[in-house]
Structure formats: C-alpha cells, structure tokens
Amino acid sequence: MADVNRGNRPLSPHLSIYRPQLTSMTSILTRITGNALIVGALLVVWWFIAAATGEVAFNRANAVITSWFGDLVMLGSVFAIWYHTLAGIRHLIWDSGRMLEIEKAERLGLIIIIVSILLTVFTVIVL
C-alpha cells in the first residue's frame, strides 16, 4: 500500500518555485565556471603538446588560440578561473564555520562577483 498515492501527494518545493537569490545564483555560477573551464584547459593542453611537437604544429595551435574564437574562450576562461577561485575561497571560509548567516553570505556573493570582474579587467590590461 506504500505506493497508493504516488504522483498525487504534496512534494517539497523545488528549484522551479523559488525566486532567484544571490546565494543560489552565485552557487550555480560556481559550478558553471568550474566545468566550463574544460574548454580552455583542453585548448591550453593542445597548445603545449603542439609546442613540444614542433614549429608547424605550434603555429597551427597558436593561430587557433590567438584567433577571435581563442580570444573569446581565453577571456571567458580568465573570468571563469577568477570567479571559481574566489568562490572556492568562499567555500573554504564557509567550511570553517564562518560567514554562514544569510546577510554575510550574500555580501560575500556580491564581493566575489565584483572582485572577479575587476581581476578579469586587470588580467586583460596586464597581459
């Protein structure tokens, strides 16, 4: 009799009914940036193995990674890597039991968004 009411019972609220919050959005962005970095990482690995192979192979890989497409991936990767790094610091702070109150967690979220953008601009200017 356990399954008698399956499909017609009250369920706990899921993602779809929540208004977006800074905490959830910054958490989702952490996952997206971390996993999206595979694209840039594989491009970088290709660039290294091409450089180890020889000049012809290197020029081919280098042309792709410095093309408009490569620039776009690298710009995105720079933002992703700074954002994910700062979000990681936030997790280390949370793991130590600090800053878990909602206002403090939201303030941290705002800080990592702003600082990651500033670091991205800084990196683009310096390099």
């Binding site: 996993n35 970088v44 193995i49 450089a51 990674i65 690298m74 890597i81 790094t85």
Partner: protein, 123 residues
C-alpha cells in the same frame, strides 16, 4: 567512542560512502590551486601569443615549467572531482557511470599529455 576523531566517525557514512574523502580531496586541491592558478595565469598569459622560439625558451626555464606541470596535474584532478559531483546531481543510472568514467579517463589523459609536453619542452 571518545578515541575516534570526528572525521573518522563520519567516514563511510552518507549516500556516497566516500563523500568525506571526496570533500577532503577537493579541499586540499582547492588550497593548492589557490597558489598555483595566479602563478599559472600570469606565466602562461605572459608568453601566450609569442613566437615558437620564445615559447620554447620560456618553458625551458624551471619556474614556468614546474608551475605549468603542477597546475595541469592538480587542476585536472580537481576538475575530475567537481565534474563527478555535478554528474551525480543531475544524471542517473548507466549514463551516470559512463559519464564519470569517461571524464576520469579524459582528465588523466589531458593531464598526461600536458605534463609530457612541458617535460619534453623543458628537457
């Protein structure tokens, strides 16, 4: 009971069984990457776009080469762990196992290719 540490008491519990160890590995690699990532961004970013001879000469120097090797190794292992968590959240059944195995193989392969390349340039 008082002879057990908190960590020992938690190990093996939870639906993932080895979740404590997974979390610990992610913590260790994240702290390592905290130092490695800025160094890699500014060494790799510095030489990216330079001609072949300059790139080879740059990665023959110990510091950029060691930073590159460590970043690729630790980075791909950290990626592997994070990807596994994402798959465990969203994908179920056979596809879950297949994706996790595929991404573990890809991570080790990419790390091996990258490390081999830098070692070959450097030596």
């Amino acid at each position: 009971m008082s002879f057990l540490t908190d960590r020992k008491r938690a190990t093996g519990l939870g639906s993932a069984k080895t979740g404590t160890q997974h979390h610990w590995h992610m913590t260790v690699s994240s702290v390592a990457l905290l130092g490695l990532i800025p160094l890699f961004v500014f060494t790799f970013g510095h030489i990216l776009g330079a001609p072949y001879a300059e790139v080879v000469a740059y990665y023959q120097r110990p510091f950029p080469a060691i930073i590159g090797i460590l970043t690729l190794l630790v980075g791909f292992m950290h990626f592997c762990g994070g990807f596994q968590t994402m798959i465990e959240d969203y994908v179920h059944g056979f596809a879950r196992k297949a994706l996790i195995i595929w991404m573990i193989c890809l991570s080790y392969s990419a790390a091996a290719v990258g490390v081999f390349a830098i070692v070959r340039i450097a030596l």
